[in-house]
């Protein structure tokens, strides 16, 4: 019975819930103390407070930097500069945004500067791949019956398979995760930055909008396209494995 029921049970938290279920939330989602306390500690030169911030955000910062610059080396440089920018700027931090958002904005600004120096096109500097009006279907149209089908226009020509019937060690294998990583890597930068912050780092849509300076709607469109493409890549990978075995 429960199998046929739709499952709207807290779907909003799918990503964070799955992570919590997989053995505890990562440091990026662990609650840090109050921003004001942290800022005061930093201003006092409290090393431990700084290192708590580092362990909460460093990996996410580096991941986001890699959307803008081409090498890990440059990304590390960008993150290093970001932290120095944070320390230099902490006296001017006014709490108009959260500390986290403020740090990530410094990262984005620093990364853009580096990207321009590298002569790379900078995400969100043009509407090129963030135009919500542009046609980019989540699923190839040929997967559906044509609009003039007499019985089921626009319905699945053949229905998507159930992934939960796959052995778990395949679904969760390192090879599967490598495919996920690869699919994300191939996304246009705008989509990539949104899915990384939302679904890898578990940030809220509001945080992502603030960090990237985009609207709620644009954020959702980019997230949808990114997730749809990753799903599509996984489907191809899983189906290949099926025909092989």
């Amino acid at each position: 019975m429960s199998e046929v029921e739709p499952q709207p049970s807290g779907p909003m938290d799918a990503a964070s819930a799955s992570r919590a279920g997989a053995g505890g939330a990562g440091p990026s989602s662990a609650a840090l103390e109050d921003d004001q306390l942290l800022v005061e500690a930093l201003r006092r030169g409290d090393e431990a407070a700084f290192m708590r911030l580092v362990s909460a955000y460093h990996q996410a910062l580096e991941r986001l930097a890699l959307v803008y610059v081409s090498t890990r080396e440059t990304a590390e440089e960008v993150v290093q500069e970001t932290w120095i920018g944070v320390l230099r700027g902490v006296d001017r931090f006014e709490g108009r945004s959260s500390l986290k958002t403020w740090i990530f904005r410094i990262l984005v600004h620093t990364a853009k500067t580096h990207a321009q120096r590298e002569g790379r096109s900078v995400p969100f500097s043009s509407l090129a791949d963030s135009d919500p009006e542009a046609e980019e279907p989540a699923v190839e149209p040929q997967r559906f019956l044509p609009p003039d089908d007499p019985h089921w226009p626009g319905h699945w020509a053949s229905i998507p398979r159930r992934w939960d019937e796959m052995p778990e060690q395949r679904l969760l294998s390192g090879e599967t995760l490598a495919h996920v990583e690869q699919a994300i890597h191939e996304l246009p930068p705008n989509q990539r930055s949104v899915i990384e912050l939302r679904d890898i780092e578990g940030y809220t849509s509001e945080e992502v909008c603030n960090v990237l300076g985009i609207s709620e709607t644009n954020q959702r469109v980019l997230l949808h396209r990114a997730r749809s493409k990753v799903r599509g890549a996984l489907e191809v990978y899983f189906d290949e494995g099926r025909t092989k075995s």
Binding site: M12, A14, E201, S205
Partner: protein
């Protein structure tokens, strides 16, 4: 699309993220769930999207490399003494 009140699968797949984000209007949410209730293909599709999100979440790297930590600690001490 205007001739009928119900969603087709090709329309539903474009609404999945809005559904998961609870960004659909109450009316569209009802249409979405009504379609799901009668469509195995779209239930599978929604489940695939949720599994995709869960798999993407597994890419999170938890710990900062030791050399990066040390480098930042040095930077912090420099900043402090400047």
């Amino acid at each position: 699309m205007t001739s009928s009140n119900s969603l087709s699968c090709i329309e539903l797949v474009e609404l999945v993220t809005a559904y998961l984000e609870r960004a659909l209007s109450p009316r569209d949410r009802v249409r979405f769930e009504e379609h799901l209730a009668i469509c195995q293909g779209c239930r599978n599709y929604l489940d695939q999207m949720q599994q995709t999100i869960a798999l993407v979440g597994k890419l999170a790297v938890e710990s900062v490399p030791v050399d990066a930590q040390e480098q930042l600690l040095r930077a912090f001490r420099n900043w402090k003494s400047s």
